[in-house]
């Protein structure tokens, strides 16, 4: 007798595979994008089933939400792009065969995986700068990774900006319905409130800078889409400083701790929690602004 919970997991997994196939086999690009967004929502559900609420929150916001918005935003241009010729049937057969081989190899590896030695988390967690284990890993044990990740975010924005040849201001959004505007007006305070809540919660429970940053980014993108806020250029004024704040704060903390105790990112006793909160605040701003910048880049007046 299969337990109902396992049955649910089986169904969820099969729907993921089915949607993946639907996404690839979709006739139009629009269909593929929409299938992929639904796929992202089911992924978020899977993360919940796997006891990974942090990942579920991030996936729902970034994986399904933001990636979806970005894909749909690029659709019009992408459809007009000239592309290389479609690969021939033998190439497809070869691809199918390598996919099958890869699956068999991975499945065999996963099934025969020996039990691994656990990490010494029990001893380390009480000493960490955050209670919640995932936050402790992200901003204390492996904070170096997170520092570089904020660099990747900033770099993606810089890379997108470097593509633009003209410096014309962003194009205003098309005239949109009053209904959408009133919804955005209604949602905006909630977005800011929930971003703040997620950020504050991150120290001891699922949540944190990633989730808060994306919620803020979503609010910003809605604001731009609904034409409530005049389109603004993140390359001007103090915006670049705000965009870089997460990265620069992180580097400053790394250099500061280097000077203070001789080890980069080794927080001084008692100061860990405050520094982690500071870093998370900077990261939230960087994540939110980076996603807004990436959404609006390439939409300047001369470009569409």
């Amino acid at each position: 007798m299969i337990s109902p919970v396992l049955l649910f997991d089986l169904l969820l997994g099969l729907s993921l595979l089915w949607l993946a196939w639907r996404t690839l086999a979709a006739h139009t690009l629009f269909e593929a994008c929409v299938s992929f967004i639904v796929f992202g929502l089911l992924m978020a559900l899977s993360w919940v089933r796997l006891d990974a609420p942090d990942v579920a929150l991030a996936e729902a916001a970034v994986g399904a939400g933001l990636t979806g918005v970005l894909l749909l935003g690029a659709l019009e241009r992408a459809e007009r792009a000239r592309v290389e010729a479609a690969p021939g049937p033998w190439w497809r057969r070869g691809a199918g065969l390598s996919a099958l081989l890869l699956f068999l190899l991975l499945a065999a590896a996963l099934i025969t995986l020996p039990p691994r030695p656990p990490l010494p988390l029990q001893e380390a967690l009480p000493l960490a700068a955050a209670e919640h284990p995932v936050t402790a890993v992200l901003l204390d044990f492996r904070a170096w990774d997170t520092l570089l990740e904020s660099a990747v975010l900033v770099l993606a924005v810089v890379a997108a900006w470097s593509l633009e040849r003209s410096v014309s201001p962003p194009r205003p959004a098309p005239v949109c319905s009053e209904v959408l505007r009133s919804l955005v007006r209604l949602l905006l305070p909630f977005s800011i409130l929930s971003a703040g809540y997620l950020l504050w919660r991150g120290g001891h429970a699922p949540g944190g800078a990633f989730q808060a940053g994306t919620v803020l980014a979503a609010a910003g993108i809605l604001l731009l889409l609904s034409d409530l806020r005049r389109p603004f250029d993140l390359r001007r004024g103090y915006w670049p400083l705000a965009l870089l704040s997460g990265l620069l704060l992180f580097i400053a903390v790394a250099l500061g701790t280097l000077g203070y105790g001789g080890t980069a990112l080794d927080y001084p006793p008692g100061g860990g929690a405050a520094l982690v909160l500071l870093l998370e605040l900077g990261l939230t701003v960087t994540i939110a602004l980076a996603f807004i910048a990436l959404f609006s880049s390439g939409r300047s007046r001369g470009d569409e």
């Binding site: 190899l105 991975l106 065999a108 590896a109 996963l110 025969t112 995986l113 020996p114 691994r116 030695p117 656990p118 990490l119 010494p120 988390l121 380390a124 204390d140 044990f141 492996r142 904070a143 170096w144 990774d145 570089l148 990740e149 660099a151 990747v152 900033v154 770099l155 993606a156 810089v158 890379a159 900006w161 470097s162 593509l163 040849r165 670049p240 400083l241 870089l244 990265l247 620069l248 580097i251 790394a254 250099l255 280097l258 105790g261 001789g262 080890t263 980069a264 990112l265 080794d266 927080y267």
Partner: protein, 485 residues
């Protein structure tokens, strides 16, 4: 103290990139060179420290692996950090005037070149120092994005197309690598390379990880048959970018592969799989050279030569001896210097002639003797003629192959040198014979010294490496993987 220097090698370029981004466009070009000089500053004392007192290890955040992330500055890392700095300095001199010369055509590339290059530099240094497999993944992505953006600075349709293809490939390769790392974590419970070496057991998971990581990194390292993305990307990028890509960017994943291979996989008894990589390396030497011979344009020729020269770096997987390992890294260093020189010189020629066909080179050497002298010197090292660094590297590699009785690599090394002579010769023959026929409007433009000197400096360094080869070899010796020494 030396721990701080290790961290600064990664953080300083990153911080300076951020600073440049806050500066207005014109200032970025003016401050680019100073940022380059500043980024090199921690290197000499670090080199001193490692030379005299051995490996420097940093546990970031004060957390030792398996919980924390470590950076390890051993001889190998130091050699590559030094190589990167040696290329960065002449390149810094060259890039400013080069982008200014192109700004007249309408590009705004120079503004973005400096911050993007500093991001790239930080990621390269990180990859050379990384002792943690996931940290290396983040480094690969950082470097990949920066490299693609630099290619796209070319601006034209071909450059954008090559950049997009390069990006998709880089993402695909990183995913394969990350999947392999996931399996290794599942099997060993740590991401630290050294700890993993003691914990890993031979099994399906470690074998699958070997396949995935090797595939991913050799895709990024452009091993034949995964080289298809390299010639268009390296040939369409702006010249200073091409030099960076061919000299350094393709090498970083290879160095990571060398580390993982000899520290994890060979001790597990998977060394036999290296035969495949070596065979592909042999094919790369021959195929890349033959393709280079067929090219009618300057930059694609140089790009295909990179495909061929990368092949030598894969011979070590079957000839697994300490000598071959040292020779491979020496070859990597020599090729990086010579190829950077050659790409910068090629960029200068194209800039001066306004055309990149080999036939338009006729008589061009009269206008820019220094640049063609550079081409000749870099060619000496690429062909492996004495007294260059390329010669010593190939000689040692040959010796290692003979000791092991490996005839196929021996034939490939010798044939590769002959073919290199054959495909580099037209560059000089056209230039030295006949008189210049002006073709484009900018034809015959004379070059400022700041464009001609940096490539010459790099070519001289490649030559000097042959005389001073004992230094890098002494640096490498203590860093040799245990299975090889």
């Amino acid at each position: 103290m030396s721990e701080a220097l290790v961290v600064l090698m990664v953080l300083l370029p990153l911080l300076l990139a951020g600073m440049l981004l806050l500066a207005p466009g014109g200032w970025r070009q003016r401050m680019g060179l100073s940022a380059t000089l500043l980024s090199v500053a921690p290197l000499p004392p670090l080199l001193w420290s490692v030379w005299h007192s051995g490996v420097v290890e940093v546990a970031l955040g004060g957390w030792q692996p398996p919980l924390g992330i470590a950076l390890r500055a051993d001889g190998l890392a130091l050699l590559l950090l030094t190589l990167t700095a040696l290329i960065a300095l002449p390149l810094g001199l060259h890039a400013g005037p080069w982008f200014r010369a192109h700004a007249t055509v309408g590009g705004r590339g120079g503004e973005w070149f400096w911050p993007l290059w500093l991001f790239l530099w930080s990621s390269l240094n990180l990859l050379f120092l990384a002792a943690d497999l996931f940290n290396a993944y983040v480094g690969l992505e950082l470097g990949g994005l920066a490299a693609v953006a630099l290619v796209a600075l070319g601006g034209g349709r071909d450059a954008l197309q090559a950049a997009l293809r390069y990006l998709l490939l880089a993402l695909f390769a990183s995913m394969l690598y990350l999947l392999g790392v996931a399996l290794l974590y599942g099997a060993g419970g740590t991401l630290d390379l050294a700890l993993l070496g003691g914990r890993l057991e031979s099994g399906v998971a470690s074998r699958a990880a070997l396949v995935l990581i090797t595939l991913g990194l050799s895709l990024k390292g452009a091993l034949v048959p995964f080289h298809f993305w390299l010639p268009p990307a390296h040939a369409t990028a702006p010249a200073p970018v091409s030099a960076l890509l061919s000299a350094l960017v393709v090498k970083a994943p290879l160095v990571l592969l060398l580390r993982i291979w000899f520290e994890l996989f060979v001790p597990l008894g998977f060394g036999a799989a290296g035969e495949v990589l070596t065979l592909l390396g042999v094919v790369a030497i021959l195929w890349g050279s033959l393709q280079a011979l067929r090219q009618q344009r300057i930059k694609p020729l140089v790009a295909w030569s990179t495909v061929a020269q990368l092949g030598y770096l894969f011979l070590v997987f079957a000839i697994a001896t300490g000598l071959a390992w040292s020779a491979t890294l020496l070859h990597l260093t020599a090729h990086a210097l010579a190829k950077a020189a050659l790409f910068l010189a090629a960029g200068n020629i194209v800039l001066a002639l306004g055309d990149d066909r080999l036939s338009s080179l006729r008589g061009a050497s009269h206008g820019m003797p220094l640049t063609f002298f550079t081409v000749g010197l870099a060619g000496v090292s690429l062909m492996g003629l004495p007294p260059s660094g390329g010669f010593v590297a190939k000689w040692l590699l040959l010796q290692a192959a003979l000791e092991q009785g490996r005839w196929l690599p021996v034939v490939a090394i010798l044939a590769g040198s002959l073919l290199a002579a054959a495909y580099l010769f037209p560059l000089l023959r056209h230039a030295l014979t006949g008189t210049l026929k002006p073709t484009g409007e900018s034809a015959g433009r004379s070059l400022p010294l700041r464009l001609e000197l940096p490539p010459l400096l790099l070519a001289l360094l490649a030559l000097l490496l042959g005389v001073l080869a004992s230094w890098p070899l002494a640096l490498l010796k203590p860093a040799m993987p245990v299975v090889l020494s």
